[in-house]
């Protein structure tokens, strides 16, 4: 068994929630460890950028272990992780899960072509050094991320041909109208509109096909004026966010409507396990930060400090509710894939073969749908939306990510020791 590192508070995820939790906890507790999968802290939104929170994280006293992936929960309040192919074990008194969210991808003909990416996906790749200047990009799907990413890519010199939002103009107006509660977001929205001036912004529009031979050449959007075809280099497409609840489920936390259930102190139903940010509800960076701070204070035994943040959290939960209401996905999106569209990209399972099975479990066992490397993280939420299949994230199993034999052997030793 690998050597064990002990800490008072272990945080999984160094996005806004995890960073805020670490900073809050480290005010009181001197052994705080943060595990994060990425090369640098900041999560998907900050990605290693220097800001108030990432700067605080560096000086707060918490230890951050980058490129460290959590593989399994071990008994006795321990977590098995992996870094550079080597197993690591952390023993905690309190665990804070801040695993964030991923994008919802919906299958449509051609969505597996190289050049079709997520919205946050393309943003991440550009952050990671992909040159986008002069490239023709269509941004499609749903949610405030579309505008934020389109604006960012345009600033980097991309030629944004169109933004296609599936929600209606009326929904967007309603969303805009409730922003008065969060004035900072109004300023952000106006700035985005300015950056995106002159860009075609379609509402009630979505991709129905991507075309190309070996890579993307064109995309067809369904618009209110009929189908429109755009020749482009990239289609950045995402239909909102899906919470990463796999670790929480593995830790025994109860899920409610697909999110991790927490009480007012951000405590889950599992003993000594707290949760903050997107796994508890999709609400953006501000909500994640305030929940992270609350979780950090509670884990450190400073409830009086946590309590002072309840008002702010309540206000931001209101923003979450508006987000869910205004960007609710329309019925038509459930039927974008045809029989021959691949739904499970890891195992190349087509929609017609997924249909042959009753529900996610049968499709997995008999059709290998969701059995590939991503472990159903991409097709699971898509099929849940398209077919109403109850998915399995509530029954996550270790290893949470593909792991080396070295790491798996560590779990094996553990289990044989209990026989």
């Amino acid at each position: 068994m690998p050597r064990e590192e002990r800490c008072r508070i272990l945080i999984v995820g160094a996005g806004p929630a995890g960073i805020a939790a670490a900073c809050a906890a480290a005010e009181t507790v001197d052994s705080v460890v943060v595990l994060d999968d990425n090369p640098a802290a900041g999560g998907q939104i900050w990605r290693g950028e220097e800001n108030r929170w990432t700067a605080r994280l560096r000086v707060c006293g918490a230890r951050v272990s980058n490129q460290t992936r959590v593989i399994a929960m071990l008994d006795g309040g321990r977590v098995l992780a992996e870094r550079d192919g080597e197993p690591l074990v952390f023993r905690y008194e309190k665990l804070i899960i801040a695993t964030g969210a991923r994008e919802l991808f919906l299958p449509f003909p051609g969505w597996t072509l190289p050049g079709v990416t997520g919205v946050g996906g393309l943003q991440a790749l550009v952050h990671g050094g992909l040159a986008i200047a002069g490239r023709r990009v269509v941004v499609a799907g749903s949610g405030p991320l579309l505008l934020a990413v389109a604006a960012h890519l345009r600033e980097r010199g991309a030629n944004i041909l169109a933004i296609a939002e599936q929600a209606s103009f009326r929904s967007l107006l309603r969303f805009g109208a409730q922003l008065w509660r969060t004035p900072a977001k109004i300023a952000q929205a106006l700035e985005l509109q300015w950056t995106l001036r002159g860009v075609l912004h379609l509402k009630e529009a979505w991709p129905i096909a991507a075309h190309g031979d070996g890579s993307l050449r064109e995309v067809t959007l369904r618009t209110r004026a009929g189908a429109r075809r755009f020749a482009c280099d990239y289609l950045a497409c995402g239909f909102g966010l899906v919470p990463n609840v796999e670790l929480a489920a593995l830790a025994g936390c109860e899920l409610r409507d697909g999110f991790v259930g927490v009480d007012g102190w951000q405590q889950t139903t599992a003993r000594d396990v707290l949760c903050a940010g997107e796994p508890t509800g999709i609400g953006g960076v501000d909500r994640s930060v305030v929940e992270g701070r609350i979780a950090g204070y509670v884990a450190a035994g400073r409830r009086e400090k946590a309590e002072r943040l309840f008002g702010e959290r309540r206000r931001l939960h209101g923003f979450s509710a508006a987000l869910a209401r205004c960007f609710a996905l329309r019925e038509e999106l459930r039927h974008l894939a045809d029989d021959d569209t691949i739904v499970c990209r890891c195992e190349d399972v087509k929609l017609k073969s997924a249909f042959e099975h009753e529900g996610a479990r049968a499709a997995r066992l008999h059709g290998r749908c969701g059995m590939g490397a991503c472990q159903g993280r991409i097709c699971g939420p898509a099929l849940r939306f398209m077919l109403g299949w109850a998915e399995s994230s509530g029954r996550a199993r270790p290893p949470l990510f593909p792991a080396t034999m070295n790491t798996l052997a560590a779990v094996g030793e553990e289990e044989s020791a209990h026989v």
């Binding site: 991923r102 991808f105 190289p114 790749l125 050094g129 990209r345 190349d348 991409i378």
Partner: protein, 82 residues
């Protein structure tokens, strides 16, 4: 960005800025990452280490998620779909 390093993608030397992800280096030469079970070419989708479409061989290690790995001087990246 300033400093540059050299990596090799499918035998081609590529100059990239320090801080570039291996996935971006692959895409910058127009390469794709892997071939699917049915032989389709695939390239990065999620950009955050979840979808596994960006897998390639990095310095001899197979199935590395290139969107989660920073380029290092002399790194050798080989994709399935070369």
């Amino acid at each position: 960005m300033g400093d540059e390093i050299t990596v090799t993608v499918n035998g081609t030397a590529v100059r990239v800025a320090v801080g570039t992800m291996a996935a971006a280096a692959v895409m910058s030469v127009g390469a794709v990452c892997r071939r699917s079970v049915m032989g389709e070419t695939r390239a990065p989708l999620c950009g955050m280490g979840v979808c596994f479409e960006c897998r390639a061989t990095v310095d001899g290690v197979e199935h590395v998620r290139t969107c989660q790995v920073l380029c290092r001087q002399g790194m050798v990246i080989t994709t399935d779909a070369a």
